[in-house]
Symmetry: C3
């Protein structure tokens, strides 16, 4: 697969470890590995330095659909960054399994699937239709931490 | 188990593949199979032809509790339709494991469990207390895609 | 590990089985075991007798951050109570894997991680950094059943 070569060809870089706003304790693992499964925590959209990407707020009012699509794409990169730190090599992900996409939704905003496509499109572009395929939900939350527009958690199969 | 015979005896038919409102791209799998697990995407309530079932809207205001219960039952049928297309035979589902039930909730509506019972009751009626039993959450979302009243995702064990 | 001795040393007792408000049917399993996995239903904060703990309502308005932290800790105890009834011995949990923390959030409340830390801190204190570590999401719901401030579902690895 050579995911990292594909990322480079696309001009994409993986962000540093997420640095939450000061005063926030996050006492859990970004990726929890057990046997041939990796359980991936809910990730936020981040900049290359690991800080929160802008804009923050509710999709449909403060954040446009196109901005939210880009935020979901940044979540994919943040998740790949965590997987790279945990697994050493992104090619160890042999199958994406479950993606739970959560959109910070303004009242009446119902295009959550179009937002989470920013995540799915990149994962399928990188991993292909076989390994990259996944089950998915894309749903509207009342609030998300720090006011982020999108948060996504996932489960993948890995080679041991 | 002979799930399909039971469905027929109950006068129930499985709907066609979900046809989302035009302009919606859904680049993921309705069922993702890997080894002895099937990860099932969030499903909407649909009519036999695969189009969205009515009524749409928030449970507690636009959609009554009884209508939402029926919508959750339709989600079960939609999910069984996807499993049938993917697995060929619904008897290959050997154990329901995890059900995450999401209800599009009007402010102050807190009877999410009574809604998602429309799903659980049918699954247990079909699969019995052993294979049909499952862990579950039933929670209130701010918004759901297309304004559907209920969306449910699940994970099941299958025979390989 | 001897989790139960640790609970006793901390002066903590596990609550009885959850008794939902009258008229509520909950036709599912609190813990669904299959092979070396236990899928744990969404749990509510409960008192030792299994009734709902107070206060109820939205975090950020009716429920303070500190009260919600304590509620998340009570959810951990309720979940351990369910695991004890199902598994017989809490030491059979060999690894926490996935935690999905849902906070009944007032508009503008974005400190969901600080709430769910009430759950994570206790699990890590009891199980240690190795077995107790877990992936996690902490997100804001529009409504939760019965108006509870926090609901958490999880998946763990168990010894067979």
């Amino acid at each position: 697969m050579q995911i990292e070569a594909k990322l480079e060809a696309l001009g994409l870089t993986l962000p540093e470890l997420f640095t939450p706003p000061s005063g926030t304790k996050l006492p859990f693992s970004w990726v929890r590995v057990r046997g041939n499964r990796a359980y991936i925590s809910g990730h936020a959209p981040t900049l290359p330095d690991g800080s929160l990407a802008q804009p923050l707020g509710k999709v449909g009012v403060e954040v446009s659909l196109e901005e939210a699509y880009q935020a979901a794409r940044l979540v994919a990169l943040a998740m790949l960054g965590s997987l790279k730190r945990e697994l050493g090599d992104l090619d160890r992900v042999t199958a994406w399994l479950r993606v739970h996409g959560m959109v910070n939704s303004a009242p009446g905003f119902t295009r959550q699937p179009a937002v989470i496509n920013g995540f799915s499109d990149l994962i399928i572009e990188l991993y292909g239709n076989e390994a990259g395929q996944h089950s998915r939900s894309a749903v509207g939350m009342a609030e998300l931490p720090f006011g982020i527009p999108v948060e996504i958690e996932a489960e993948v199969e890995i080679s041991e």
